[in-house]
Symmetry: C2
Amino acid sequence: MANQELKILGQDGDDVCCEGLATAPLDEEQAADLAKIFKALGDPVRLRLMSMIASREGGEVCVCELTPAFELSQPTISHHLKLLRQAGLIDCERRGTWVYYWILPTALDRLAGFLAVPRAAKASV
Amino acid sequence: MANQELKILGQDGDDVCCEGLATAPLDEEQAADLAKIFKALGDPVRLRLMSMIASREGGEVCVCELTPAFELSQPTISHHLKLLRQAGLIDCERRGTWVYYWILPTALDRLAGFLAVPRAAKASV
DNA sequence: GGCTTGTATTGACGTTCATTGATGCAACCT
DNA sequence: AGGTTGCATCAATGAACGTCAATACAAGCC
């Protein structure tokens, strides 16, 4: 269950993580990889899921606590969780009857680093 | 031309920018606002446009330099630039015949700050 | 004025996405 | 074994998205 996420930025080979948005123009492959992750965050339900999980004391949340927070069907929440997992943003584990999700902070850190604009590029504002 | 972007995070009123992803669960409105911005970044063409503009010496790029970098029609590039502008990520100005685009670093900084996960939430990894 | 070049907008089309009800699978309980 | 609960997958549908050709608009040039 934990081995389904996509190959993520700079896991090996080309290293997207350490290059900022402003260091050099992205090539098509880098852009496609990153776009998948941003797209995963580009939905209000998924952003709320992320924040619900990330802000959780202990770092883990049971699906049974996430689903009732939305006025959406259970399959829909399950679908969004799957997309976040495929983007490498969260992971999960089954423990008995319940499934627990947690954030993968490394992915978030890489995104944050990617977005941080070096001072040079800020001069024009 | 410069006054069309959406009302952005924490421009006034509710302040999304200073709350991290992990500080508290997002409410629906905050999530919807942020999702628009992440969605704007969730396309490879738009990410490449962003990096081409951001990595540009001087911080400004003419559309006439962006369009030929893609195997896409000129209206398509124009459409993507419009979406980025509506998300508050870039702005533009017409100077004579040409239109120049530049990055709005504040928006990127806010996103980066939002994604930076506090140490507490990282313990579980 | 009319012509040319650069950019934005419109309208249409095919694809992808979010959502749901129905169903399947896993784990517990009696 | 049978029943129940938690979660994932499937198949279908309507909405949103990316793309383009055609067109419109803006600015410079003749």
